[in-house]
Amino acid sequence: MGKNLLLEHDHVPGIQSYEVYRKHGGYAAVEKALKQLSPEAVVEEVKKSGLRGRGGAGFPTGMKWSFLAKPEGVARYLVCNADESEPGTFKDRYLMERIPHLLVEGMIASSFALGAKSAYIYIRGEYFYVSRILENAIDEAYANGWLGKNILGTGYDLDLYVQVGAGAYICGEETALLESLEGKRGNPRIKPPFPAIAGLYGCPTVVNNVETIAAVVPIVNMGGDEYAKIGIGKSTGTKLISASGHINKPGVYEIELGVPVEEFIYSDEYCGGIKNGKQLKAVVAGGSSVPILPAHLILKTANGEPRLMSYESLADGGFATGTMLGSGGFIVMDEDTSIVKNLWNFSRFYHHESCGQCSPCREGTGWMEKILHRILHGHGKLSDIDLLWDIQGKIEGKTICPLGDAAAWPVAAAIRHFRSEFEEYVKHPEKIKDVQHYYRLNSLSEA
């Protein structure tokens, strides 16, 4: 365990600068790709590696790359999705902030593989200071001949740009991101056509997450087959997990996929157990949109097997008893956490971030938030719980983009696993009006 591919040199002082990064083996992947491999060979290595999209959906990256249309005389683009806005996810920020050159290197190698002459990093507006770090790294890469015309004398040209978004969650959806990058309102496009056919400026485009692109670097360096040996089953390689919540050591951890969830939460190497010796109540395993799971289901699957940190194991049992690895936003909740309050907070987020393009999401997210607010403040009715269930069912799968699903899943899962808690809120409003919960959450002494 303790496999570090992406964060291997994380601890090295000054790794943000080109010299230090280069001294620690940086840009070897670009050298290897451009000088020894053909673009097709790089794609082949990525296919062999079994790398899956790290942004949340977990789609095989090699397959996504091979879908890219390659018409003659039409530009192709690689766009890096750095619009990381999922509550509970902060791995990309960490990566870009600490080792910006890793992303730049990955962008060059991936662009070469895809035949893109221009590549963009679309970064969320709130990460403005990170965009400065990236721009510095890009300037250094230009100065040292890794970007621009005729890179390494191979005749390959690449320009890399950083574009700062304006802070909308929806722009993390790939087609909304492309719209925003084109300077338009960030509304998701209706698919098909998929970006691989008509993406940025109508040209074939690949949109990949920061971590996915960074993972291309070790894949090129070690070879796809070697990379595929790390991890478990179809979940190959390592994954950055943003651990937060009631744990002793919150932060970003690079894990080899397949680590048992129990080990991840309780081992001192990772989260270090629940804060203040409390009991585990629930975990949101992959960012706020994935279904929440109660302690007994996150530690063991419904069949009683230990649950592992992998795409397959977390999804075991479907949404009835499972969840998703998602973007790796691992939110741990202790016994004192109010699931209803937490859910209201998530719903408020999705209500606020809905783009308003299609009706189920535009109207439904706000409705769910209002009902949850009512329940939380002791004005709920028992029928509200069924109503919430009905509304989420009418949003899920009926919208243009996955934001509708992302808003519906947490509601469905919370009711599925913690229905009694909702009923408690409705039946005993006097109990919840006290402030104890608030003080416990904030570790303040009650005045």
């Binding site: 209706i190 809905s354 189920p360 109207e363 706000g366």
Partner: protein
């Protein structure tokens, strides 16, 4: 020529036809309702989700069903595709949900709304909706604003179909309005109280499926079922000049573009025809409009009677009609 089966009706359609267009070719109750799709506007549709259908068989080559319900207005037909609309209980249920969502923040002020009687949302709610709302919170409201001298925007009623935005993009030569903000406070507006001023801006009124955009020269003049629609035309230098006159007795209460049976505009008309030519002598009346769309306009009050004003056929028209009939022979 792909063959598609919709609710058991098979039809062969040209390449690139959408499911909704194919369903309209078949006709009848299997046609999905549409609130944002507009056949004459490119890239319209996909937003309102009322036209969602279930694709139970993708195509002959790839018979897998599509995992989620799809917007029929934006999904192209594949050969051998099988689609379920009213025969699928899930679709009917999902559509009910969409109608509920559309009505959630809608003020339901039909008794004072000028669109009542020709409102798509009214029809949709009547056919597919529930009789009662389950929403118990305050609805969002907006101030009414004037966008241009003759058009009133009442955003509270808007369902964000984006049709008026597409009209401004595709029919007029400039667009000064668009969607601002996001989520359930998204609104159609001009940026900092701009005025929409161009010759074809009035068409946004015709494409609006609800009463969000209304003609200020007709607001509160009459209920739509108390005026009689008449086809008329004039020689207009800017547009085709083919319109529908909405007559109250001998008075032209309103001028609108002609619409097909899905209430979609056939020919865009200019603002001069729409707002300024309100005298009977401006127009050559062709006869009563045949309203195919089931509508309160054609119920009870409307009779195909001769207008009291005698139609004037000028020489040009006479020549035109004779020449077409000759070539027909």
């Amino acid at each position: 020529m792909p063959k598609v089966t919709i609710d058991g009706h098979q039809i062969e359609v040209p390449d690139g036809t959408t499911i909704l267009q194919a369903a309209r070719m078949i006709g009848g109750p299997i046609v999905p309702p549409a609130m944002c799709y507009y056949s004459t506007l490119k890239t319209s549709g996909g937003y309102c989700r009322t036209c969602i259908v279930k694709v139970s068989k993708g195509s002959e080559k790839d018979p897998r069903p599509m995992p989620k319900p799809v917007a029929s207005c934006r999904t192209t037909v594949m050969d051998g595709m099988e689609v379920q609309n009213i025969t699928s209980p899930e679709v009917v249920e999902a559509r009910k949900g969409v109608v509920e969502f559309l009505l959630l923040n809608h003020p339901l002020d039909c008794p004072i709304c000028d669109q009542a009687g020709e409102c798509h949302l009214q029809d949709l709610a009547y056919e597919h909706g529930m009789a009662k709302t389950r929403y118990e919170f305050e609805r969002r409201t907006f101030e009414k604003i004037d966008i241009g001298g003759k058009i009133k925007l009442h955003m509270t009623r808007c369902i964000l179909c984006y049709r008026c935005v597409k009209v401004a993009d595709q029919v007029t030569n400039s667009r000064v309005h668009g969607v601002m903000n996001r989520g359930d406070v998204a609104e159609i507006s001009t940026y900092i109280e701009n005025v929409i001023e161009n010759d074809f801006s009035g068409n946004v009124i015709d494409v609006c499926p609800v009463g969000a955009l209304t003609d200020k020269t007709f607001r509160f003049q009459s209920r739509i079922w108390n005026v009689n629609p008449m086809d008329a035309h004039r020689d207009c230098p800017k547009c085709a000049g083919k319109v529908t006159l909405w007559m109250k007795g001998d008075v032209v209460a309103r001028v609108s573009a002609r619409k097909d049976k899905y209430a979609e505009v056939i020919d865009w008309i200019c603002n001069e025809c729409r707002f300024e030519k309100k005298e009977l002598q401006d127009w050559v009346i062709e006869g009563p409009t045949n309203i195919e769309r089931h509508s309160v306009i054609s119920q009870n009050h409307y009779t195909l009677k001769e207008p009291s004003h005698k139609p004037v056929l000028n020489a040009v028209d006479a020549v035109d009609s004779s020449s077409t009939s000759n070539s027909g022979n």
